[in-house]
């Protein structure tokens, strides 16, 4: 196209660099740089005014791992992630199956499912917090009027009561996305496959297990991984309902990191580094699993 040979040969010598550079620079700026800054912060001594008092070595990591609350926070993070993702996937499989059937009012039902997704998660969480409130809460009113409890309960007042409610709300807000992903997967399964299975005399359960589930695998895996990372990093549900309290009894590592930020930025950064490492491990595991998936389907 161009008649000037010099810039053209220069470009050729650069090879793919001009095409890759913007993406690389962007990744450096928005991914690598913040990560480096996070690690650097975790190794400094920073006081409550934000003034940096020089290197701290691994002091903040030692302080973090000596915190008596950390083991419980880690344990709850695992339970939280497994419980929320597990329940979400199970319920979504059923819901997706339902919404894949033709029934009167399906359009409206599908729209209704979007509602928890369309509403801001923080708003949903705050809404539930007040519904569960000891004095003003509508749930206490309902249970009192039904005679199921004899005095109002502080549903979010202690970890044993708060945790199931937190899981419930987190599942509630995760369902729409997961269901729609699985629904999209279901709709890619060709009708002939089902026909063939029925001709071969397979039962409904057999068809679901041997035909639907294997063909749903790609959509299932995507939904699973997105949910795992989302729920692990989930902040608004817990912050909106209990702020991780009382103490750090309902805090996951992400919420705990935010709590630490209030008085020790460096220790909070150390917690972030640990969190980041966990996410990396989760992603590596996913890559391994998805490759195994590819090989098997070959």
């Amino acid at each position: 196209m161009s008649r000037a040979p010099t810039p053209r040969s220069l470009l050729r010598r650069l090879g793919p660099v001009p095409w890759l550079a913007p993406a690389v620079l962007l990744i450096l700026a928005v991914v690598v740089w913040p990560v480096a800054e996070m690690v650097r912060t975790s190794l400094r001594r920073i006081d409550t005014t934000g003034t940096d008092h020089g290197p701290a070595g691994l002091v903040k990591y030692r302080k973090l791992f000596a915190d008596p609350r950390l083991p419980e926070v880690l344990g709850w993070t695992v339970v939280w992630t497994v419980a929320v993702v597990g329940l979400t996937m199970l319920l979504s499989l059923a819901l997706a199956q339902l919404f894949n059937q033709n029934f009167p009012g399906r359009r409206i039902a599908r729209w209704a499912l979007i509602a928890p997704w369309a509403a801001s998660v923080l708003m949903t969480a705050i809404g539930f917090r007040w519904m569960l409130d000891q004095v003003a809460g509508v749930l206490n009113r309902l249970l009192l009027d039904l005679g199921l409890i004899d005095r109002p309960q502080a549903w979010l007042g202690d970890a044993a009561h708060a945790k199931p409610w937190l899981v419930f709300v987190a599942v509630f807000v995760s369902l729409p996305f997961t269901t729609y992903t699985l629904l999209a997967g279901l709709q890619t399964v060709p009708a002939e496959v089902y026909e063939a299975a029925r001709v071969d005399g397979a039962s409904r359960w057999q068809i679901y297990r041997k035909v639907t589930l294997p063909l749903l695998r790609p959509a299932f895996l995507v939904a699973l991984v997105v949910n795992l990372i989302n729920v692990f990093n989930s902040f608004p549900v817990i912050w909106g309902m209990t702020q991780g309290g009382p103490n750090a009894d309902t805090a996951t590592t992400t919420v705990f990191m935010y709590m630490l930020r209030g008085y020790d930025v460096a220790e909070s950064a150390a917690m972030s580094v640990v969190n980041f490492a966990v996410v990396i491990v989760m992603v590596l595991l996913f890559l391994k699993v998805s490759r195994w998936n590819e090989e098997e389907s070959r």
């Binding site: 913007p22 700026a29 004095v135």
Partner: protein
Amino acid sequence: MKRPLLALSAATMAGALALSACSKGSGSGSTSADGVTTIRFVAADYGSNGQNPGQAYWQGVISAFQQQNPAIRVDLQVINWNDLDTQVKTMVQNGNQPDILQTGGYADYAKNGMLYPASDVLSPATAGDFVPALAKAGVQDGTQYGVPFVSSARMFLINNALFRKAGLDPANPPKTWDDVTTAATALKKAGVDVPLGIPLGKEEAQAESFIWMMGNHGGYQDAGGAYTINSPANMATFTQLKSWVDAGLTEQSPAAVNRTDLTKDFASGKVGMLNGFPGQLGDLRTMDVSWAPMPGKDGVSPSTLGVADWVMAFRKGGHKDQIRAFLDFAYQRDNTVKFDKEYNLLPVTRTALDALQTDPDEKALQPFLQILPTATFYPLSDPTWPGVSAQVKTQIGTAVTDPGKALDALQQAAVQAGR
């Protein structure tokens, strides 16, 4: 040739993105060509939910000040309490601190040598006017850095109607912890939802705890400034609180209940007694209540909690003289009295205290004005206190479930703080 051009512009954009993210804010105020010096002033907003904004009050003070001092311009920024700490922290990290800051604490800034001593930025007349107990709370290592701005104090608040309903005499309020047990038990029998409110949720748990600790001659620190959070006296205090919680005489799970919510419950007649503060006076105007001294273990508590917010002047901008001119103006009696009345806060200067004590409109404030000069403050001059206080807020509530575990953990954290 279009594509490389596009790629190049994308590359510059990414670069610009990275650069703008590193760029630091500009320095603090400066003198312009016409000889006008600008000082930056950051203040907290005492108005609630957008009502009664602090911006309006300060604009009034500043425009009056600027008329008298045409060579000084005050650049005002009013920030709500929720964002104030973070925003100021960011300013300091970027070397962009204001000339004057009005916030909740001064100790960590003073320790870093960022502040002017109060004597540099106040005329002797202004400096000598502060209530001595408050001025003393602004002293760190022998020098006053914190200039008190407003104060508040706590007293025991009783719902008279509920007391009478339970067969108790509101004119004879509980004086000892045993009296509290008796009264709370009677209130519970009379069907009161929350006989005794102890809000140990993170909003103000550090205050609530301190008040009860003082009733047993305990506290966060000993006279030498060493942390004593798990002292035997404090253990006994929390064992007492725990026994009230276990007996169902308080709200359920105090660790999750914040002061704001409980004071609302008090205003709607669901709480028998709690530690109140002057900010409630507006809500209680039509209610029949009594304010009493804090009950202690064996008799009325030797002291009550006083809290104060602070003004401090940063060295960075080098505007000592302009800061002094503005602070002397802002601390004039009429200005401070107006602010205190507007937000139901207690004064910090003796002239304002006198003015409010003789003000017929402020009868309700009288009990607080009387105890203010004897109130005890947090260890405000200790630079580790802001961090320790933040940890106390979230953790001390669990001490009513397991006093030993919670107080030991906090003591350990307090000793490590600042390391």
